[in-house]
Amino acid sequence: MSICRRLLNLSKRSEIDAEIDAELKSHIEMRIDDNLADGMSPEDARRNAARRFGNRTLMKERVTGADAALALDSVWSDIRFASRYLAKNPGFAFTAIVVLALGMGTSIAIFAFIDTALIKPLPYKDPGRLVSIYETVPSCPLCNISYQNYLDWKKSDLPFSALEAWGWANYLIHTPEGTEPAHGTRVSDGFFRALGVTPVLGRDFYAGEDAPGAPRTILITYGAWQKRFGGSRDVIGRTITLSDIGYSVIGVLPKDFHFAPRGEAEFWAALNDPSDCDQRRGCHGLFGLGRLKDGTSLQTAVAALKTEASRLEKQHPDSNHGFSATAIPLTVAVLGNIQPVLLMLLSGAFLLLIIACTNVAGLLLVRSENRKREMALRSALGAAPARLFRQFATEALLLVLAGGGLGLGLAYMVVKLLIKLVPEDRIGGMPFLLTVGLSPQVLAFAGIIALVAGILFAVVPALCISRANLRRDLAEGDRGSAQSAWRRIGSKLTVLELASAVVLLVGAGLLGKSLYLLLHVDTGFETDHLATLRVAAPKAYADDNRLMVLERLIANRIGGLPGIKSASISANMPVRSWDGGTSIIVPGRPVTGQRNDIPERDVSSGYLTTLGASFVRGRGFSEAEDDPSKPRVVVINQTLAKQYFPGEDPVGKQLEYEGSHALMNIIGIVEDIKEGPLDAANRAAIYVPFNQDSSRSFVVVVRTSQDERTILPVLTAAIHEIDPGIAVSDAITMTDWINESGSAYLHRSAAWLVGGFAGLALLLSVVGLYGVIAYSVSRRTREIGIRMALGAERGSVYRMILRESTKLTAFGLGAGLLCSLGSSMLMRKLLFGTQAWDMPTLVLVSSALALSALMATYLPARRAASVNPVDALRAE
């Protein structure tokens, strides 16, 4: 078909052009011939033919337009024209494209995170119906579940199509490099079926494989298969020894499998080895996972759980007193604390995008202002408004394509960089982040923002032109009066930019202040010169006495090393998490029926002094008292003293675990130590001798006299010298531990990212302001020249320019501060110890912006003041 031929011959536009020309020309000539034959004079014949034919140029344009191939060609010529235009204005093109790439790149990158984290975070079948199940007491609203309670739930008719239990397991594994800890999970047999995950190799657990006494079987992750078995297919049926127990490998989990609530775990064993804790109904060591039955709402399920829990409470008042149960969507359990951060980042990125777009729109406005004469000329020569608009649209398209393409590349790099910046042990809790990339959704998002930006960039300059008076533009050319579209729209754009920058700056300021306050929160101990190390002793130390010998050996051996002042042991790290605790009572007081769940810390005699905690009253326990055969003693913290012994002296009084009848003598009160996250309030806590309730996994905490970082390898070596079969891990200084703790990490990431956005925003908006003022000065050179010729002082010229900039800055600042009050209220959950209207932050931000604005004005103002009146007048 002819169209194909023409499309193929697109490059031969001139040929097609010539053909159309020839056809039209032959028509006119035939008319002339006929006219001559009718007896007209040659002159009349020609004029008559032309008149009858109509506007030949226009007709030709229309014929060309009717030709699809040529229409395409004219688009191509638009593109060529636009790219030539951009190439001729490299400064403009470069600025616009870079600014766009920055704005779009950050938005796309943040959206990529939103996409993976919020839109498709869980790689399971129908993840919306999965819930996380907890037991709950007032002190711990989302707490572990008891295995015995779980078994009863399973027997009752709860509205779950699957109800599973899982718990952490920490194994010791012997490798050629020595004994190391390995993370594992114990799961009920239907766990993977509930998630909808099938092993890629081997089989899933059979129903009934989690019955006590069933053969020890284990599923391994894809990573463990590759790392420990070299990806060999005959791994099925092989036996792997974990903590001196043999497990038979029955399957390999898919490569993309992850279970964020557990984090990184290589080994997934069937829950068929009930621990002491599992066998006691009062011990809560597991987590619940459920899949809602079709058509059941979360509320119904929660109500059913509560009913069942209260039934069990009546049945087992000793252990279940005060316990209820609840469920939350698994997505909420996984994303609870990063969701608000991500949404805030997206808003921040959007603000930055707005600034970038207004900046480019402003640049385009300036351009179109300068091109008024060109456009007026083209329009006088017959270009239709639509044709002129098409030109703008093409230029906008080119800019957005270049900026967006670059932005995509930038987003890709930013995403990779941000993921690298996430510490490895944090990735375990957010495994979905590993899949962040430029997915189709992200590309669609990029397309949408590009489209919106493109429309904006096409419409803004076109508006300015179409409103203009063509005749005046032609006549005045470059000498356009100050009453231009630029002044109408351009200055408003700057106000918008400045206001957005203020919002971002205030956000960053508040987050930064929160982070500072968080890191300087009173932990109740001296955090510097502390080194820590986690130790897991093998089964050989299961006997309490052997463990006590080991504990003392470690404390004394390491305490005697050069550079170490004291060494101690605790079952838990401080600044980690508040747990549910154990219910205690004060003997002799009337029983209220209320639970008093108090977290307990099992620590060696030197622990509190090693930390540098200060005693308010009484003393800590001695090494001799840290012995299971000695009377039980306890050190309480100040909050406990205030809560349970108001106006009394607790030292000398007693505490008792509810239902245990084992009395503990209170021997001292210590100032509150931050056991939970930095941003959580202190709770009542008790410190009891390690050996009166010991465990084989504990933390060694040492106070050093030299740089604590250099001590870490010494510690590891010292432990291995005592027994190479002991696994050590997580050697870290206390300062690092605190700085990298969950809440600090979250606050720091938020503060840095928003700070980065705010920095970019400040830069872009100040550049925008500079552009406005510089442009306005250049337009007013003549006016300034006249003013000076008439005797205006340089100072008054300065003032005139400054007044213009101050007005814009003041409007931007005012609007921005108002908006930031709103935005800070929205993000107040992410703030710590800082109010949304924190005055110092607002003042600091305002002065930073005002100062930057002043600097941005100074250059053009100086140029204006140094205008030579004679030159300025002559230049026109």
């Binding site: 028509h27 109509g54 007709m59 229309r62 009717a66």
Partner: protein, 108 residues
């Protein structure tokens, strides 16, 4: 949907002319329309060409360069097979349009 607009009418005139007279150049088509309509339908002759090219793009007519009786080179147009079908449809559409317009004019 039938195209009941003036552009469609011009297409109809061109197609009809070519179906009556066979192969013809643009000038000839213009002359024929003027004469056959007793000079009632007189438009700028040039406006014929966008229509001709559009019809050619649509495949309803084909074109070929040839010499006229006066030995001038001119582009001759001819109705294609699809063009003939198109003409029938266009005539029908036009009748509908005329009837419709007439009905409205008579309505009182």
């Amino acid at each position: 949907m039938p195209k009941n607009d003036l552009q469609g009418t011009l297409d109809l005139l061109v197609l009809k002319t070519l179906s009556q007279l066979g192969e013809l150049h643009g000038y000839g088509i213009a002359l024929h329309i003027q004469r056959a309509s007793d000079e009632l339908l007189s438009v700028e002759e040039g406006s014929l060409y966008p229509a001709l090219h559009r019809l050619e793009q649509g495949g309803w007519i084909t074109a070929q360069w040839a010499l006229t009786e006066t030995k001038r080179r001119a582009k001759y147009y001819k109705l294609s097979v699809v063009g003939k079908k198109r003409l029938l449809q266009a005539e029908k559409d036009f009748e509908t349009l005329v009837e419709g317009v007439r009905a409205i004019l008579r309505y009182a």
